[in-house]
Symmetry: C2
Subunit: 109 residues, 2 copies
Amino acid sequence: MVDITQQMNACFAALADPTRRAVVEALARAPASVSDLHAPHNMALPTFMRHLSVLEKCGLVRSEKVGRVRTCFIEADPLLQVQGWMEWQRIVVEKQIESRDQIPFALDP
Amino acid sequence: MVDITQQMNACFAALADPTRRAVVEALARAPASVSDLHAPHNMALPTFMRHLSVLEKCGLVRSEKVGRVRTCFIEADPLLQVQGWMEWQRIVVEKQIESRDQIPFALDP
DNA sequence: CCGACACTTAGCCATTTTGCAAACCATGGT
DNA sequence: ACCATGGTTTGCAAAATGGCTAAGTGTCGG
């Protein structure tokens, strides 16, 4: 059983890197091999692999190796978790703004 | 003009810490002073201040000082940006899953 | 004017992250 | 069998992160 909080820590940390976000964007559309994913990124393969393993460790990506090719897939669950948290905050914030507009001087007693 | 990509990097990195997520959750509900925000967190104040400044630097939080009290507010824009990206990925992933279910052997030519 | 309160600055440390290069499997094609 | 392809492992250095303590600044209350 994985701690939800740590899952979120790891997912947000993973998504804090543009390379890794690009990988998520790619895998969201379709599964792909390591080399395919690596191709557009201007960095050494081992470096790129480390990015991939970060994504795997936080659960955003799963992968299986067949022959010498490793194919990567996106994993919906942690994505939904993060998206859910973001949306919840958005809703709460909107509620705050709304109530601030209705009672403009609520903070000045 | 702020680079969108770097804004995202910074926001995700900021949200990768549970203390900072807790602050965002608190500020989503209502503005608060530094000490109020600090109270529930078991860490030295300077340490906590650094978390706050991380949130400010990425734009998720704004603050103004009146007298000796600094009041913090959440900032909607970057939150919406991040939430938007998350939701977009969710939609794309759902589309992929859907199409995978409809054409089960699409990957075996 | 003096102390308490609310930060703020500065400096130190341990750990983690992010990049590289170089060498090393393992598989597939000819 | 052999070589190219596709990954993997290892080791290293620079930089960022997250925590602390100690000491400083500026306001308010009495």
